[in-house]
């Protein structure tokens, strides 16, 4: 098992890349939803 650390790093890398991207999408989604709600409220009031 002399190359096990390469194997482990490669597997972690695959899921880390997807997970980090999903986190970034989820954070952008929540910020956009807030912006949309705020704008809708402003438009209703004004």
């Amino acid at each position: 098992m002399k190359n096990f650390h390469f194997l482990l790093s490669a597997w972690i890398a695959v899921w880390a890349v997807f997970f980090a991207y999903e986190l970034s999408v989820a954070s952008r989604l929540s910020k956009l939803s807030e912006d949309i709600e705020r704008l809708k409220r402003q438009l209703k009031q004004g």
Binding site: V14, F18, E22, V25, L29, S33, I36
Partner: protein, 238 residues
Amino acid sequence: MKGRAAITVLAAALIFFAGYAALFVAPDEATMHEIQRVFYFHLGSWAAMYSALSVAFIANVGWLVTRNPHWDWLGVASVELGVVSCTAGLITGVLWGKPAWGIWWTWDPRLTTCFILWILYVSYLILRGLIEEPQRRATLSAIFGIFAFLDAPLVYASNRLWRGQHPSPVILGGDNSGLDPTMGKVLLITVPAVMVVMILVLVDRYRLEKLRYELEELRLVEEERGSAANSMPIKELS
């Protein structure tokens, strides 16, 4: 929301089983031994990339033909997922290359065409960020996306057309190619595991683009209201 949670749990279970199968079920490869097990997720990343970029290509053509914004949202969402999957494929390749070849990287035809593909689609995303007008942005990026996709079949064919450091294909590679039946079965778990994750993220990324469009529309309404209020005669305002 419940459906989404169920699919996420299913995806997590699939990832776990895929890892287990790749580590404990798949047989040891005769020359590379344990490092060959990178193959199961390396191939999964490439399958996800080809699927995402094929969807992007269809969406780019769809936008140019119909001018329906749904195609544009799907186009940019799938290109981003294609870049993410390509990045995962390149990283796993580098981490497999070092112990197998003794070098991190070489300008072999497969690696070079793949790196060019990555650069092309990153350029697509940069291009989109530079154009403000939505219609123009969608049209120019669709044209660029179709052009970039020309490299995808070249990446696939590169190790069939030219000899290089990268191994010859083991699947659909002709008479001298082939895969151990157990390895093939393990691939049937690992490739769908990566694909399911890719599709789940793609759905979220598509929703994000849809919300961006909604926000742009609301801002336009706000601006129109603002300019209408400014152009009102003084009497009406008071």
